[in-house]
Symmetry: C2
Subunit: 303 residues, 2 copies
Amino acid sequence: MTSATQLQQQPNGQGGDDDDGMGAEFTRTVVEAMGPATSPRLREVMSALIRHVHDFAREVQLTTDEWMAGVQLINAAGQMSNEKRNEGQLLCDVIGLESLVDHITFSAATKSTKGLTASAILGPFWRHDTPLRENGSSISFDTPADAQVVFMHGRVADVATGAPLADATVEVWQASTNGLYEQQDDEQVEHNLRGVFKTDAQGAYSLYCLRPTPYPVPQDGPAGKLLGLMDRHVFRPAHIHFMVVADGYRSLVTQIFDEDCKYLANDSVFAVKDDLRVRFEPRAGDERASLELEYNINLAKAE
Amino acid sequence: MTSATQLQQQPNGQGGDDDDGMGAEFTRTVVEAMGPATSPRLREVMSALIRHVHDFAREVQLTTDEWMAGVQLINAAGQMSNEKRNEGQLLCDVIGLESLVDHITFSAATKSTKGLTASAILGPFWRHDTPLRENGSSISFDTPADAQVVFMHGRVADVATGAPLADATVEVWQASTNGLYEQQDDEQVEHNLRGVFKTDAQGAYSLYCLRPTPYPVPQDGPAGKLLGLMDRHVFRPAHIHFMVVADGYRSLVTQIFDEDCKYLANDSVFAVKDDLRVRFEPRAGDERASLELEYNINLAKAE
């Protein structure tokens, strides 16, 4: 067996001592088992996946007991997943994978566009059937006593020209101060703390929402267990989710983060970006809200 | 974003262009989030896993849609797993991972011992409650019309001295000619085609079993779907499973393969080793069996 040290010196295990048939030659055999009808993209993805998984196992000299513990963790994630939660996704999130693929898919493709609003992960709490609401209305239907209400408003614009984008949809969703989204919480009314808004002729949207608060990711499943084993906290910093869609523009999924939140530097799912930090300002003369946030969004044309 | 080509030239993504925060620096942030109470081995395993998973995503520029397809596949594997099947395990098997960790755990640790019987994967069909049977008895309780019966016998010995090992247990299990193990098949009696045998004072065991036949791994779940996407067949070559346990010796889990089987060179789970090929010989003068196999097993002392 090639030693772990040797393998670390030889990326992908190639060129290593392979006389026992379980080094790079074995990995090549598995990759080359793919038949001619495999799609080119699947072949590319699976070849790299097989190579990295094998290299990982050789590098740490993974034992059958350790591997089986991993299989049971992943099976348990699937068994716990349903329409209201996705533990497989959450396992990926706590090792930074969703943030990374979001970056690859959205931000990396549009990196050269200065001023473009940055993306962040969708997360598991978006709903496809959120109702359209009037600009200036509230998404909070049972505002908790410990909540601070925010008047949030802004414009959606073309990042290149600055032209306002009318009829864009700005969808927002957030957890309540108890840390739960409405679909997790029998005490909240349906579609509480979520809404879709349409921009007006000036590209403007506005709504009342809550100042977001930090909350723990679910701790009763494999992702929570893994966080515990890694001696990490389970909190997400205070944030509001956005999905912004305009005809002819690249759709944006993102989150904005309260810059005063203590978990900003160590989000349990690694979604924070500097560009996405916001400051909630005091608001005077509005009996409905004590805070205000102006948040403008710049989109890039679809290719 | 660091290009895929750059990353391939820079193992583990280290030292790469990282000005956008999602290259090696991001990966380090995720790894270093582990707290001081993480066990040293878990830190080692998770650090390597995170690094390889991130490198994989960057190398193939994995998109959110592709990643989510993977999450759904893995969640579906968990949802299909129960006491009778393990789709998470099977997903690992079809990319060679169980064979690799078996090799790391067993064979690599004892590589220097010439003559040691080689290991192979346990697979998902072993049972913990298989009954003890008399040497010379049959494990086939409802022999199908298309089966060939084999008289299998051999000795268990110390690999270093050749001394016979008495009171070792030799457990065997196999699928029937319809490709199903008894726990998958309502038509087979409980514990059909499986049994535990104890070696006598000369280290000998003997039983009647079936000549094994190739069979497909289950095709109704994610592993079958993945094999289809990779344009691979689903067959395992004809084999019989063994688990051999003797006091003071390293336990052995292995499989023996019929050298005439057409799937020997492309096992769907990559478990075949040259040392584990056997030839079933004609047997004369035994009305219970038309074939014979002598199979001797050498164990190494436990450390």
